[in-house]
C-alpha cells in the first residue's frame, strides 16, 4: 500500500521529501554522537533532545528570536556559496552592519523616526555590503583568496567593534556590561509577539528567503550566479561577466549579513553589547549546508537550529550542561554534509561511466560541475 502511493508520487514532491528525510537522519546521527560524549562526561545523554523539546514546546518565542538571525545568516551563506564566493566573513559583516546602525541612530537621534529608521537600516545594510565587497574586490582585482581575506577581515571587525564600544560609542550610564548607549526608541522594531524579542525581523527574514528563492531559481541574475558558482570556465564562454556577477553575489551576501546586525540591534538589544553575536555568522554555514544552500530550506533549517540554540541556553541555566554541546552537534553536521556532497558526486559519476576508475579525478569532477551548470 505504502509502496504504491510512493511509486505514484511525482519526483517533484518525492525528491524534497527524500532529501528532508536524509537530513533528518543526518541530524539524528550527529545528535547521537554528541550525546555519547555528553553521557561520557557524566551528564544526561538526552540533554540535546531536552534542549530541543524545551525550545519548541516551552519557549517557542525564544526559538523564533534565534530563528530570525539564523535564517538570515543561512541566506547570506547560501547566496555566497551558490555564487562560488567563499564568504566566511558573515560574522564580521554583521558587526559592521550593527556598528553602522548603532552609530547612525545615536548620531542622528534628533531626526524624526520616519527619516531616522530608513537611514539607520540602510546604513547597516550598506556597511555589511561594503565589508563583504572588500574581500570580493581583493579577489577580483588581485586574486587574493576570498575565504582567507573574509575570515581575517572578521577579526578586524571584532577588534574594531571592541574599540568603538570602549571608546567613541561608549555608554555614558548603562550598567556594568560593556555596551553602547541605548538607541532612540523611534528605530526599535515592532514586536510581533508581546513580551518576547520576536519582531517583524522574523517576517523580513522569511520574505527575504522566498524572494531569494525566486531570485536564484527564476531570474537571469540567479542563473548567472549559479553558473558562475558551478563553473567559471563555462560561464566565461557563455558571455557572462564573471567578475561582475561574482561581486553581485558577494554584495547580496554582505548586505544580508549587515541586515542581521541591524535586526539584532534594532529588534533585540536596542544598544550594541560588546561581542553580542556569539558566532551567529558562522552558524549560517551550518544552516545553509543543511538546507543544501536552498533559500526555502534555510527557513526550516533556521527554525531547527533556532530551537536547538534557544533550548541549549535554557538547559544550561537549568542543569549546568554547557550549551557548547550545540556547537559540537553543528560541527558534526557540517562534517557529515561535507562528506555527503561527495557521495552524491560519486553516484553521478558511477551512473555516467562505470568503467573509469578514479583516474584523473579532478577533470571528472569538473565535468560533473559542467553538466550541473548547463542543466541549471
Amino acid at each position: 500500500m505504502i509502496k504504491e502511493i510512493y511509486s505514484k508520487l511525482p519526483a517533484k514532491i518525492l525528491d524534497p521529501i527524500k532529501s528532508i528525510l536524509r537530513q533528518v537522519l543526518l541530524i539524528l546521527l550527529s545528535i547521537a554522537i554528541t550525546s555519547i560524549l555528553i553521557w561520557i562526561m557524566g551528564y544526561s545523554p538526552l540533554a540535546v533532545f531536552d534542549g530541543l523539546s524545551n525550545g519548541i514546546t516551552k519557549d517557542f518565542p525564544g526559538t523564533l528570536r534565534w530563528t530570525t538571525p539564523l535564517i538570515l545568516s543561512g541566506l547570506a551563506i547560501a547566496v555566497a556559496f551558490k555564487t562560488g564566493a567563499w564568504n566566511l566573513g558573515v560574522d564580521g559583516q554583521l558587526y559592521m552592519g550593527a556598528l553602522a546602525a548603532t552609530a547612525v541612530s545615536l548620531g542622528l537621534s534628533t531626526l524624526p523616526g520616519v527619516l531616522l529608521f530608513p537611514i539607520t537600516v540602510l546604513a547597516g545594510i550598506i556597511a555589511g555590503m561594503l565589508w563583504a565587497l572588500l574581500a570580493g574586490i581583493l579577489r577580483t582585482q588581485y586574486g587574493a583568496n576570498d575565504l582567507v581575506s573574509s575570515l581575517l577581515l572578521t577579526y578586524v571587525a571584532y577588534h574594531f567593534s571592541d574599540y568603538l564600544i570602549h571608546g567613541p560609542l561608549k555608554s555614558g550610564a548603562y550598567g556594568p556590561a560593556e555596551s553602547s548607549n541605548i538607541i532612540p526608541e523611534t528605530v526599535w522594531l515592532p514586536k510581533i509577539i508581546e513580551g518576547s524579542s520576536v519582531t517583524i525581523g522574523l517576517i523580513v527574514a522569511i520574505v527575504l528567503a522566498v524572494v531569494l528563492y525566486f531570485l536564484i531559481f527564476r531570474t537571469t541574475l540567479g542563473y548567472e550566479l549559479k553558473v558562475v558558482g558551478s563553473n567559471l570556465w563555462f560561464s566565461r564562454y557563455g558571455g557572462i561577466k564573471v567578475k561582475a556577477v561574482y561581486l553581485k553575489g558577494m554584495a547580496i551576501s554582505g548586505a544580508i549579513s549587515g541586515l542581521i546586525g541591524v535586526i539584532e540591534i534594532l529588534g533585540v538589544h536596542h544598544r550594541f553589547p560588546i561581542r553580542f553575536s556569539s558566532g551567529l555568522g558562522f552558524d549560517g554555514i551550518v544552516v545553509s549546508l543543511l538546507a543544501s544552500n536552498n533559500p526555502l530550506g534555510v527557513i526550516i533549517s533556521g527554525l531547527f537550529f533556532g530551537a536547538l540554540r534557544n533550548g541549549s541556553y535554557n538547559i544550561e541555566r537549568l542543569t549546568e550542561i554547557p550549551r557548547a554541546m550545540v556547537i559540537i552537534v553543528q560541527a558534526i553536521i557540517v562534517l557529515m554534509v561535507g562528506m555527503q556532497v561527495i557521495i552524491k558526486f560519486k553516484k553521478q559519476k558511477k551512473d555516467k561511466q562505470s568503467s573509469n576508475d578514479d583516474q584523473s579525478k579532478e577533470t571528472e569532477e569538473l565535468n560533473t560541475f559542467n553538466t550541473n551548470g548547463s542543466e541549471g
Partner: protein
C-alpha cells in the same frame, strides 16, 4: 620612537611568533600537497586545551606540550578520514573541524575543570630560559637571540628541518609531486593517500604543539577560543610563503612584529586603544595576502585561473 624599537621588541617578536610559527610549519606540507587545510586553527585550540589539562594533572610543562601535540594529532585523524577517505570538500571539512575544536574545548571546560570561560592550573610554572654562551654577551644580538624558552629555539630549528625535508628528501619531493601531479606521482610508485595522511598528521601534531606552547608558555591558561584567529594568520603565512618553509617563517615574523609592536605601544600608552592595536596583525595579514596574490597573478598573466 627610540623607546619603542629596541632589542626587547625583537626578542618579544621571536617569542610571540613562535606559536604561529609552529602551526605554520605544521600546516604547510598538506597545503603543498594541494590539500586545502585551514583546520589548523582547530588543532591549535585543541592543543591549547589538552596541554593545560596535562599540566593540571601532572604538573609537568613538557608533558603538557606533548599532550597538546598528540591531542592535535588525534584530532587531525578526523579531518584526514573525512577528506582523504570520504573525499569530503576540504573547505567545508575545515570549517567543521574548527567548529568542533571550539565546541569540544568550550564544552569540556565545565565537566573537566568545573569552570567556564577560562582555567589556569594552580601548579603552573614558567619554562626555563636558555642563555646561550658567548652570544648572550654580544650587545643587542644577545638580547634578541639569547634568553628564550627552549621552544623558541625548537621553532627556529623546525624551520630548517622543514626546509630540508621539503626540498632535499625523497619524502619532500613526493609531497611536492602529489601536489603538482598526482598521476605522475602514482606512476612513480608514490601512494598519494599515504602522503596526504602523513601531511595531515604532521599538521595536527605541530599545530597542537603550537597551541600547547601558546597555552603553557605564553598565556599560562586555557580560555575559551583563545587562539583567536592565530591559526588563520598561520594559514595566511603559508599562503604568502607559497608553502616554502623559510618564506613562511618570514611571514610569521611580520605578523609577530605587528603583535609585538602593538603590545609595546599599549604598554607605553601611545594613545592608541588596545583593541585598535589588535586589528594590526589582521590588517597586515590581509595586505600581505593581497600583495603576494597580486604578484603571483601578474606572474601567471592569465587571470583566468583565479577568476
Amino acid at each position: 620612537m627610540s623607546g619603542i624599537i629596541d632589542a626587547d621588541l625583537f626578542a618579544a617578536l621571536l617569542r610571540i611568533s613562535t606559536p604561529v610559527l609552529l602551526v605554520a610549519m605544521g600546516g604547510l606540507f598538506s597545503m603543498r600537497a594541494k590539500l586545502f587545510n585551514f583546520s589548523i586553527e582547530g588543532y591549535m585550540l585543541v592543543g591549547c586545551f589538552f596541554s593545560i589539562l596535562v599540566v593540571d594533572k601532572t604538573g609537568n610543562l613538557w608533558f603538557g606540550l606533548l599532550g597538546g601535540a598528540f591531542a592535535g594529532l588525534i584530532f587531525s585523524i578526523v579531518y584526514g578520514f573525512a577528506v582523504i577517505h570520504l573525499k569530503a570538500n576540504a573547505i567545508i571539512a575545515s570549517v567543521g573541524m574548527n567548529l568542533l575544536g571550539v565546541g569540544l574545548t568550550t564544552f569540556l571546560l565545565r565537566p573537566i575543570f568545573n569552570t567556564s570561560g577560562a582555567y589556569r592550573p594552580p601548579n603552573m610554572e614558567a619554562f626555563p630560559v636558555v642563555n646561550i654562551p658567548i652570544i648572550k654577551d654580544i650587545p643587542f644580538i644577545g638580547d634578541v637571540i639569547s634568553g628564550h624558552t627552549p621552544l623558541v629555539y625548537f621553532g627556529l630549528l623546525l624551520v630548517i628541518v622543514c626546509q630540508l625535508l621539503m626540498y632535499k628528501t625523497p619524502l619532500g619531493l613526493a609531497i611536492q609531486s602529489v601536489g603538482d601531479n598526482p598521476e605522475a606521482a602514482r606512476t612513480a610508485g608514490i601512494n598519494p593517500k599515504k602522503i596526504l595522511w602523513l601531511t595531515v598528521l604532521w599538521g595536527g601534531f605541530f599545530s597542537g604543539l603550537g597551541g600547547a606552547h601558546l597555552a603553557t608558555g605564553y598565556v599560562t591558561a586555557f580560555s575559551q577560543e583563545m587562539t583567536a584567529g592565530r591559526g588563520f594568520t598561520a594559514f595566511t603565512a603559508i599562503v604568502f610563503g607559497a608553502e616554502n618553509p623559510f618564506l613562511t617563517f618570514l611571514a610569521t615574523l611580520v605578523f609577530g612584529f605587528a603583535d609585538a609592536l602593538g603590545i609595546r605601544l599599549e604598554i607605553q600608552g601611545f594613545g592608541l586603544h588596545p583593541s585598535l592595536i589588535k586589528t594590526f596583525p589582521f590588517i597586515l595579514a590581509v595586505l600581505v595576502l593581497t600583495i603576494s596574490s597580486a604578484i603571483r597573478m601578474r606572474k601567471m598573466k592569465s587571470a583566468k585561473q583565479i577568476l
